[in-house]
């Protein structure tokens, strides 16, 4: 028995609950003789990995589900050993190269070479390599990838999985068939939740499903997890059943509130402590940026929104390059503080003037 997320995960393309037309297209694609490299992208919890697994099953049959875990070791050019976890069946191999940090180039090169050199034994003309989190790959690794993608096209195909294409180099994008898995809409989430609760044999009020899908923000995985934790908290469901939200989200919201409350270097120091707390709990900087921006913008006048968003974008973009993300988040907070404070004081002056 496993979590509901895994338990009710669709196994094949036919079972998918939404984006059905894409599923149909994929079925045709699998049947066609020239299966291309794929770049599957979309927000977290939209069902990218589910779809990749379904494609594999469609390609190779149920044998693709028999996955084993392996630790593979590679030697870097400087004779340093690196290890990486791979999930592989007879037909494919899944790997997350960003696991080894800046050495990912070695993994990409060695692994693809290794897989591509051995031709598949049965009737399938090619193997599949699934690379997770391609947007976290270093530029070197991505450059290494583009050559190997062409070189070994006869014996293997790549399925790349990424959150967004913005950090995937255009060279790679152009070599793949991009496949956008959009986040499910609110209604789609509600529908899935209903299916799950029906299969699980629990009675879920529609109001709860609505609230969960609101709170999940397009993340189906989180929605199902929330439903399950609600079930664990209290069942039968009551009115105003509390939804278990991750702590870090609440914490981020509080942080945003602190920023709006007061704008001063001392306050920034306090905010920094909280940011450190978030970062050292492994919360990715992207999520922090997004969470903060979402909350901060709520307090902004329309004319400020654009300005704040632009600053957030700039800082986030910078944060993807440097190693010290805290600097960039702090820069964004400081800039927001300055913008907001100036705006508030101007507004107050204007008010005084009106009076």
């Amino acid at each position: 028995m496993s979590m509901w997320v895994d338990k009710y995960r669709p196994r094949s393309l036919d079972e998918l609950d939404y984006h059905k037309d894409m599923a149909q297209n994929l079925k045709h694609l699998v049947k066609s003789p020239d299966f291309p490299h794929l770049l599957v992208y979309g927000p977290s919890g939209a069902g990218k990995k589910t779809r990749i697994a379904a494609i594999l099953r469609e390609l190779y049959g149920p044998g693709a589900d028999r996955v084993r875990i392996q630790r593979q070791a590679f030697d870097t050019p400087s004779k340093k050993k690196i290890e990486i976890t791979t999930y592989s069946s007879n037909y494919h191999i899944e790997v997350n190269p960003s696991e080894v940090g800046f050495q990912d180039r070695v993994v990409v090169q060695e692994l693809i070479k290794h897989v591509a050199e051995t031709h598949p034994l049965d009737q399938h003309p090619f193997k599949v390599i699934v690379l997770q989190e391609v947007d976290r790959l270093s530029k070197d690794a991505q450059d290494a990838l583009r050559r190997t993608m062409e070189k070994y096209i006869s014996s293997c195909r790549l399925i790349l999985c990424a959150l967004s294409t913005s950090r995937v180099t255009p060279a790679i994008q152009s070599r793949c068939l991009p496949l956008r898995v959009a986040a499910p809409s609110k209604n789609q989430i509600v529908k899935v939740l209903q299916i799950v609760s029906k299969k699980e044999g629990i009675i879920m009020p529609l109001e709860l499903a609505d609230r969960i899908s609101d709170s999940a923000d397009g993340n189906l995985r989180r929605a199902i997890l929330m439903l399950e934790s609600c079930r664990a908290e209290k069942y039968p469901f009551v009115d105003k059943q509390p939804i278990v939200e991750p702590d870090w989200e609440k914490y981020l919201r509080e942080t945003a509130f602190i920023i709006v409350q007061e704008q001063s270097p001392q306050r920034l120091l306090l905010v920094r402590e909280r940011l450190y707390e978030l970062l050292c709990h492994c919360i990715p900087a992207d999520l922090i940026f997004r969470g903060l921006l979402k909350e901060l913008v709520k307090n902004c006048d329309n004319q400020l929104k654009a300005e704040v968003c632009a600053e957030a974008a700039r800082c986030q973009w910078r944060s993807t390059r440097g190693s010290k993300t805290i600097i960039h988040i702090e820069e964004f907070v400081a800039k927001f503080m300055a913008i907001y404070k100036r705006f508030i004081e101007q507004a107050m002056m204007a008010d005084d003037f009106d009076d």
């Binding site: 028995m1 496993s2 979590m3 997320v5 895994d6 995960r9 977290s44 919890g45 990995k49 589910t50 697994a53 996955v67 084993r68 875990i69 630790r71 976890t85 999930y87 899944e94 696991e99 997770q132 989190e133 993340n219 997890l225 934790s229 664990a232 908290e233 209290k234 278990v244 939200e245 991750p246 702590d247 870090w248 609440k250 509080e254 704008q263 270097p265 920034l268 120091l269 920094r272 450190y276 707390e277 978030l278 970062l279 050292c280 709990h281 492994c282 919360i283 990715p284 999520l287 910078r318 390059r321 440097g322 190693s323 010290k324 600097i327 820069e331 400081a334 503080m337 300055a338 404070k341």
Partner: protein, 873 residues
């Protein structure tokens, strides 16, 4: 006739000036005047007659110097009672001054009066010094009651134990310049002087004989400076640093209280090394002068920051001082090594030194220490006991230093013979630049730490002046002052620079001078941060090198940062501290500008690292210059070190997740990535595996649904490889089940809003879950044949390791039962009772006799059970 010394002892220059005008002959640097108005009269028998200022003093120093040069441990010098009769020229003061019965007594040892009792006083009388003698006009006339900080001075002790400090007149003319610690023949013109000298010699000889009785020693041949002048011409290459090295305690330029503190510590060893109870003597004198001592202390404390903590003077049972190591710390060129050498010699030791240039591996280090401090033959090698000086100890390996620590703490043992503890019998003086080196962390606790203060500029200038005059360089004091500032009062670099100038025969005003003598010294990281965050002090005099000017601030910071080198580390500190600066602008413009510079720094650094273009590295220090101009304030609050705990915590969580994800069952892990785990899955999982729908009631009255949920929880926990571990609260002694890995620690935050606190998951259910997990694990392992064997071998331990924890041992007992019932053979088949009788099974049993029984913890006879191998295998 006795002379009354008054308080206050300093006289204003005005009067002196007047006296000079009136044509009176001056008697040296000290102007002692009787003031009958003063109510507090102190009789001072021993006042040195400072006729001719420095001249006499130097002469007497010489006597002393020779004494020390011989390394006597108990130097008792003194000793010429100069009695002079002045026939006044009819002036008012004549009556008081003319009859100047001043006996001079100089006591040079560390605690001024401690040796007095033993000293044989001798006196010679100078009579009728003709007043027509040349008397230099003196401008500095002060008798000070506290240790003067920067000026050259001469300490002297009055009969009642109070100490006075005479300011010495800086000698400018070549004639006045006497060699360091040497006699200048010209002073022989003083009538009676030779008498004094002879007297002193006799005294000295007598003293030596006494000393020789206690410890046989050779007289160290000391380079006599008289010959130096000639030698120099022959050997022009001898370094001035060597040539003008202080030869005696009095020559030391470092602050007197520091020197004294060290000497005092070395002297504490007398009891065990020489068999002289030094401390008793000190105590006796201290009692005698207790009041004065207190006054002195008060005075000195007011004006001086102590550079060392008060010393624990107690002896241990072996008659050795409790603190067995002295640790001198300070910047290079302050004279630490010289000071240590001279003091060790002064106290009668033979100096053995080990420094960074020697082999300092653990073995070599241990051998050296043992040789010098332990073995008898070495100890008395040249007639004097060894004093070990470990120079540059901060560069030694931590392990090597720990050898020393072991010896000091008395934990070191003789190799081979385990029970005999090594005893440190000789003083060890360690010297380091960086007191905060990690290798010294432990040693510091056991050592008498003395931080060398900076040398006073005037004292250094005075010394340099002497040297430059002797070397016929004739530099003016302004130039010397510049030199001192440049080298940050590094004596070595000053002397070397002077020598360089002499060799090059260029005028000091040359532009070259601006370049030489600059120290390429790196500061500690805190010092660099301090420089960045504080505005430089305004100098009293205004010259072109005023550090407050922006261009000099720019240059200074740039230089400091470049010398330090580790930009990223520095940047971490700047970033950590910049928000503590007080800002004046209301819209945080400075903060934002600073942050933009910080991101600029990060951009460049990242670029350098990525593309390996180290040419760009040179621009990084500009960030710190910019930071300085943005953040420097007069009053910077304490600089804090970047918090590395956060990094540790991050690493901890990251590695925990990494291992978790590999141990999660494959079907689930395939769809996970670490970030997803922390942001989505674990927060939900935490509430799912601790469901609120299970009632904390006995399992018998549970509904089927509840059982199902429990089953589900167990399965989930197994899927994610999470379990409970039983821990004991060290304070309350209560047991608690903690999740392993601790999910709550990973995903919980300290929220402000008062969350409706969830009822804690009841202990009983946790216990139940934990037991279920264990059984389930066992059951699953059971299907894998190999593991059965493993489990079997572990079995004997289980009853032992859980003594005292009743709930768990109960659970384990149930486990044991299951274990015994499921005992299977290698192939997973249940072992049949019949099989045991067969010969094969017998053989198998013998071969499988590798049953290890290891006692782990608890009381051995608490639970003792006989278990037969047969039952287990």
């Amino acid at each position: 006739m006795d002379f009354d010394l008054m308080e206050p002892l300093s006289y204003d220059d005005g009067e002196d000036e007047e006296n000079v005008k009136s044509g009176r002959k001056r008697f040296g640097t000290v102007n002692i005047e009787e003031t009958s108005r003063s109510s507090k009269r102190q009789r001072c028998q021993d006042v040195k007659s400072y006729k001719y200022g420095t001249v006499e003093i130097t002469e007497i120093e010489d006597v002393v110097v020779e004494d020390e040069g011989d390394g006597s441990s108990n130097v008792q010098v003194s000793e010429s009672d100069l009695r002079s009769q002045f026939n006044g020229d009819g002036e008012k003061a004549g009556t008081s001054r003319s009859a100047m019965g001043a006996s001079v007594k100089r006591n040079l040892s560390m605690s001024s009066s401690s040796f007095r009792g033993a000293s044989t006083s001798s006196s010679s009388t100078i009579r009728d010094i003709p007043l027509e003698e040349e008397a230099p006009t003196v401008r500095y006339r002060r008798v000070l009651k506290r240790i003067p900080n920067d000026i050259p001075y001469l300490p002297l002790t009055c009969e009642d134990g109070s100490r006075l400090y005479l300011r010495l007149k800086p000698t400018d003319s070549l004639e006045d310049t006497s060699k360091l610690g040497t006699t200048s023949s010209r002073f022989n013109i003083l009538p009676g002087w030779n008498d004094i000298k002879n007297e002193a010699r006799i005294l000295k000889d007598k003293f030596h004989k006494e000393l020789a009785k206690t410890v046989e020693r050779d007289v160290v041949s000391r380079p006599v400076d008289e010959n130096n002048e000639n030698e120099d011409s022959k050997v022009p290459d001898s370094l001035w640093v060597e040539k003008y090295k202080p030869r005696s305690f009095l020559d030391l330029l470092s602050q007197e209280d520091v020197n004294r503190a060290l000497l005092h510590w070395v002297k504490l060893w007398d009891k065990s090394v020489f068999g002289v109870d030094y401390l008793a003597k000190v105590k006796a004198t201290r009692e005698k002068y207790a009041k004065l001592e207190a006054q002195e202390k008060e005075k000195n404390e007011k004006y001086h920051k102590k550079s060392y903590l008060p010393l624990n003077e107690e002896y241990d049972e072996g008659g050795r001082p409790n603190i067995k190591v002295a640790l001198l710390a300070g910047d290079p060129g302050l004279g630490k090594t010289t000071c240590a050498h001279i003091i060790a010699r002064h106290a009668g030791y033979n100096v053995r030194e080990i420094n960074a240039s020697d082999d300092r591996s653990i073995q070599a280090f241990r051998k050296f220490i043992d040789d010098t401090t332990q073995s008898r033959s070495e100890i008395f090698q040249d007639g004097r006991p060894n004093c070990l000086i470990i120079d540059e100890i901060d560069g030694a390996q931590t392990d090597s230093v720990n050898v020393l620590v072991e010896l000091v703490t008395g934990n070191a043992t003789e190799s081979g013979k385990k029970k005999i503890k090594k005893v440190l019998r000789r003083p060890i003086i360690c010297i380091c630049n960086d007191l905060y080196a990690t290798s010294l962390k432990i040693l510091k606790k056991y050592a008498f730490v003395i931080q060398f203060p900076q040398i006073g500029v005037p004292r250094l200038i005075d010394r340099l002046n002497e040297v430059s005059d002797r070397e016929k360089l004739f530099l003016d004091s302004k130039t010397l002052q510049n030199l001192c500032h440049k080298s940050e009062c590094d004596i070595r670099s000053c002397l070397s620079t002077l020598q360089f100038l002499k060799r090059k025969r260029c005028s000091p005003q040359d532009a070259l001078f601006a370049q030489v003598g600059m120290k390429d010294k790196s500061k500690g990281i805190f010092a660099v941060w301090n420089d960045i965050f504080t505005l430089p002090e305004e100098k009293k005099y205004h010259d072109i090198h005023d550090p407050i000017k922006p261009e000099f601030r720019f240059r200074n910071i740039l230089k400091t940062v470049q010398n330090f080198g580790e930009y990223q580390k520095l940047m971490g500190g700047v970033f950590e501290n910049y928000l503590n600066v007080k800002y004046r602008d209301s819209y945080m413009q400075t903060v934002i500008e600073g942050l933009e510079w910080t991101t600029w720094f990060e951009d460049i650094r990242e670029y350098v690292e990525r593309t390996q273009t180290y040419g760009m590295f040179g621009y990084l220090p500009m960030y710190f210059v910019m930071s300085h101009f943005l953040y420097a304030r007069r009053d910077m609050s304490r600089i804090v070190f970047p918090n590395y705990e956060l990094v540790l915590k991050l690493n901890k969580i990251q590695s925990a997740i990494k291992t978790q994800i590999t141990e999660t069952s494959i079907a689930t892990a395939r769809f996970l990535d670490p970030y997803m785990l922390i942001t989505d899955v674990y927060p939900a999982l935490l509430s799912i595996i601790q469901p609120g729908t299970i009632r904390p009631v006995p399992t018998q009255i549970w509904t089927d649904k509840e059982r199902e949920i429990l089953q589900n929880v167990v399965e989930l926990m197994l899927t994610f490889n999470i379990s409970y571990t039983q821990t004991k609260n060290p304070e309350t002694g209560a047991y608690a089940f903690v999740l392993e890995p601790d999910l709550a620690d990973m995903v919980k935050f300290k929220l402000q809003e008062s969350v409706v606190s969830k009822k804690p998951f009841p202990y009983a259910i946790k216990q139940l879950v934990s037991r279920e997990i264990d059984t389930e694990k066992l059951r699953r392992n059971d299907t894998v044949p190999d593991v059965v064997q493993k489990e079997t071998f572990k079995l004997p331990e289980t009853p032992k390791s859980n003594v005292g924890s009743t709930p768990k041992s109960k659970a384990l007992e149930t486990l044991n039962k299951t274990m015994v019932s499921v005992a299977r053979d290698f192939f997973g088949r249940p072992i049949l009772a019949a099989a045991e009788t067969s010969p094969e099974a017998e053989a198998k049993k013998k071969s499988a006799a590798a049953v290890y029984f290891r006692f782990k913890e608890g009381f051995s006879n608490a639970v003792r059970r006989y278990i037969k191998i047969r039952d287990l295998a």
